[in-house]
């Protein structure tokens, strides 16, 4: 079989190039629905894995207040900008809700970290984090977002924020919106013929083998 036959086997060649790219592109509809419901069993997923996924999806860990706080912090970490939407636009809070059930070791650091945040805000501003003014929220975040310059007494907050930052970025940049934002353009049938000529030149390599 040649490459064209490979594409036929994928069920793509007959549809032509344009549809081929659409079908595999970041705008694909099927993926979105699957992710949202977590209900459809994909081929290759083992029965026990599917049951486990469904069970986790059906459980609730965070309270409404905790989830709302996660949303505010997530959008502070990854806000909408000129290129794309923010963390909540990409469904990050729901992703984090799933991950703490999938990896239970995250549960206490996340629940406790959110509580730590509220306690700090209560002491400073007399309100929980979500009720504070944006300037107050950012004032506190500034004290926990930079590990090297954070004060020793803020270290628990730094640990929480680092975990929250990683979960937020993971959730955002693995969403449809985030994959498009970061500019990943693979995951589709094609031909790899080495580094494009203009890139070779820009980086000072004489040909595809360097």
């Amino acid at each position: 079989m040649n490459r064209r036959d490979s594409l036929k086997a994928l069920g793509l060649a007959a549809a032509g190039g344009a549809l081929l790219l659409d079908g595999c592109g970041p705008q694909s509809k099927t993926g979105k629905e699957t992710a949202a419901k977590g209900a459809e069993k994909l081929p290759g997923v083992q029965d026990w894995e599917h049951v486990r996924n469904g069970k986790l999806a059906g459980e609730t860990f965070f309270t409404d207040h905790e989830l709302a706080t996660i949303g505010v912090v997530a959008d502070i970490i990854i806000p909408a900008d000129g290129v794309s939407g923010g963390a909540t636009d990409a469904g990050v809070p729901a992703f984090i809700e799933f991950m703490v059930k999938d990896i239970p070791a995250y549960q206490t650091p996340m629940r406790g970290g959110l509580k730590w945040l509220d306690v700090q805000c209560q002491r400073r501003y007399g309100q929980v984090f979500t009720e504070c003014r944006e300037s107050q929220q950012l004032e506190l975040v500034d004290e926990i977002a930079y590990p090297a310059k954070a004060k020793p007494e803020m270290r628990q907050g730094v640990a929480f924020f680092s975990l929250m930052r990683n979960l937020t970025a993971s959730g955002f940049f693995t969403s449809e919106l985030g994959v498009k934002d970061i500019g990943y353009v693979g995951n589709r049938p094609g031909v790899w013929d080495g580094v494009p000529q203009d890139v070779l030149q820009a980086h000072g390599f004489k040909d595809a083998w360097g």
Partner: protein, 578 residues
């Protein structure tokens, strides 16, 4: 009372093959194509990459975005299994370590491998340094089988003429990615050669081979390939062998023991069906074990009888001994030259585009043998955790406007950093020769069974100075290469307290040696045909027969040895010896 009845299959097969990975798959393929009636038993479920692959799925199609919670290499990795299997424990002797990766599915661990396909060299079979025992066969004796494997399964690479890194019959190799060009430039400055990778991916059509598509460069061999464009035992061996009508696969069949008669010859195997938990026996004129080095050793040790009191084929007492994995250590950093890089699709193939074959001169080193280096990096498909490193290193280079900034952060500037650093990372990993030692072994744990009542393995494995010094050399080399590339390395070099980052034995998933071959029945389990010294119709075709592996990932050698053993079985049948 529950009745306990063993269901006996009355048919006598020409061969019963245990395991469907590289070794079992190849033996089954050769024998079935020669007209033998072959029965293959696989402990896990049937798996066909054409239907069961996760190829071309997006990260958001996994609720955990590909995290490794359920599968050790992430949700999209094809392998069913891992380091720990529910209800199938193993143990370790105090003070020793071993991690045992098992895949339970058609194709076994060929569902999880890098498709890196290296031949062992003349010095690997017949070492000149006297540190380990020679194999009973030479490279020249195995070369025709390597050649046949190349033609039958397909491998890309370049002819280099390196003495202990023999060339094969190569398809065209994929061209390097941008980070790989930087790696090559840096490595050569550091005195480390870099050549085109050698991988079993069809970069062009393979003459005479039907039913397999050529690579369409998604870089996802590890997810299983829908068009059979790479080597998996299922797609290239077992499923084609089934089409001959001569090979039958029974899946979900966990083999309990090899059955023998009063003369000590193998008559078949017994197994438990992992779904209905019923017991079965099947009969064969020849029994071929390809269950993986440790699983085959376990099976032999659990198959004791009056004729084989210490376990089948174990008169030497060496079954389970000389267990050895590869060494492994890794390092990484990022390339400032690749910040804000232009976006394009560089998925390439799912095996390596480049690698460094061993180049060292052992007369100037404090360890024997060596390692090769595999490289990574690039604009890969986003998956869980892939951005975690960015806030740890974003203070190490100025921003686009030339400003210094603090580590970490949030907001629009951090979002910009994630974009800026995407695709700028580089990684490298060494895979080296760990010595096969008598004192590193697996045996039957005297007090533990798995959920099927089968006694489990207990491992005894310790790294020695040779492996630790090799890991130190890897780390020093990695740092030199990274430095010469102009890479920024954020993590300090690991020290002796972590054995220089040397992975635990078993972690590289290259274990072998547990049923070593040799000419002397007192010093080996198998003869040079991988045939039991004690039981002439019993063969082992996984990595158990390896006397000593080189720093060459072992799949290609398993395939060549298994093909050679299958040929031998056919010849012996014609002579009516078995």
């Amino acid at each position: 009372m529950i009745s306990y009845q063993i269901k006996e299959n009355p048919e006598v097969y020409d061969a019963v093959v245990v395991g469907s990975g590289a070794g079992g798959g190849m033996a089954g393929y050769v024998l079935a194509n020669a007209g033998l009636k072959v029965l293959m038993l696989e402990a896990g479920p049937f798996f066909d990459p054409a239907k069961d692959t996760m190829q071309l799925r997006w990260p958001w199609e996994s609720p955990r975005r590909g995290a490794s919670t359920v599968r050790p290499f992430g949700d999209f990795d094809a392998a069913y299994g891992g380091w720990e299997l529910d209800g199938e424990p193993y143990t370790r002797a105090a003070g020793t370590e071993f991690d045992w990766f098992r895949a339970r599915m058609l194709g076994g661990r060929t569902n999880h491998w890098g498709r890196i396909s290296l031949r062992m060299g003349p010095d690997d079979f017949k070492p000149k340094d006297g540190v380990t025992d020679p194999w009973p066969i030479s490279y020249e004796e195995l070369k025709p089988y390597y050649d046949r494997v190349d033609r039958m399964i397909g491998i890309y690479g370049t002819v280099e003429g390196i003495h202990n890194e023999p060339d094969g019959i190569f398809l065209k190799p994929p061209k390097p990615r941008l980070n790989e060009l930087y790696i090559r430039r840096g490595a050569e400055k550091a005195g480390v050669p870099v050549i085109a990778g050698r991988g079993s991916v069809l970069t062009e059509a393979l003459p005479g081979v039907e039913g397999r598509g050529t690579c369409f460069y998604c870089g996802q061999c590890g997810r299983a390939c829908r068009v059979y464009g790479d080597f998996s035992s299922s797609s290239c061996l077992v499923i084609p062998a089934m089409k001959t009508g001569n090979l039958t696969v029974i899946d979900n069949a966990m083999v309990r023991e090899v059955l023998t008669n009063d003369e000590g010859l193998a008559t078949g195997v017994s197994y438990v069906n992992t779904k209905d938990l019923q017991e079965y026996t099947v009969r064969g004129k020849t029994v071929i074990l390809g269950a993986s080095a440790c699983e085959s050793a376990r099976l032999l040790l659990n198959s004791h009888s009056a004729a084989h009191p210490g376990g089948l084929g174990n008169s030497s007492g060496l079954v389970g001994r000389y267990l050895h994995d590869s060494t492994g250590a890794s390092a990484g950093g990022f390339l400032p030259q690749l910040l804000d890089r232009k976006r394009y699709n560089e998925d390439g193939v799912g095996s390596v585009h480049i690698y460094s074959p061993w180049w060292g001169d052992n007369s100037k080193l404090n360890f024997p043998r060596g390692y090769h280096i595999e490289y990574g990096g690039g604009m890969r498909m986003p998956s869980y955790g892939f951005t975690d490193w960015v806030p740890n290193v974003n203070h190490l280079v100025p921003t686009k406007d030339g400003k210094q900034r603090e580590q970490g952060g949030y907001g629009v500037s951090l979002k910009e950093d994630y974009r800026r650093f995407y695709g700028a990372s580089v990684g490298m990993a060494g895979r080296g020769t760990a010595l096969a030692r008598y004192d590193n072994y697996c045996e039957i744990d005297p007090s533990r069974v798995d959920k099927y009542g089968i006694p489990v393995l207990r491992f005894h494995y310790k790294w020695a100075n040779e492996e630790v010094e090799q890991a130190r050399h890897m780390q020093e080399t990695f740092r030199e290469i990274l430095h010469e590339m102009g890479a920024v390395v954020a993590s300090p070099m690991p020290g002796p307290e972590t054995k220089y980052g040397l992975e635990a034995p078993g972690k590289i998933i290259h274990e072998g040696g547990t049923t070593r071959m040799g000419d002397d029945p007192k010093k080996s389990v198998l003869n040079k045909w991988s045939q039991s010294h004690d039981c002439r119709n019993l063969f082992v075709v996984d990595a158990g027969p390896f006397v000593q592996q080189g720093d060459k990932n072992l799949t290609w050698t398993i395939l060549a040895l298994s093909m050679r053993t299958a040929d031998h079985i056919l010849q012996q049948r014609n002579k009516l010896n078995i």
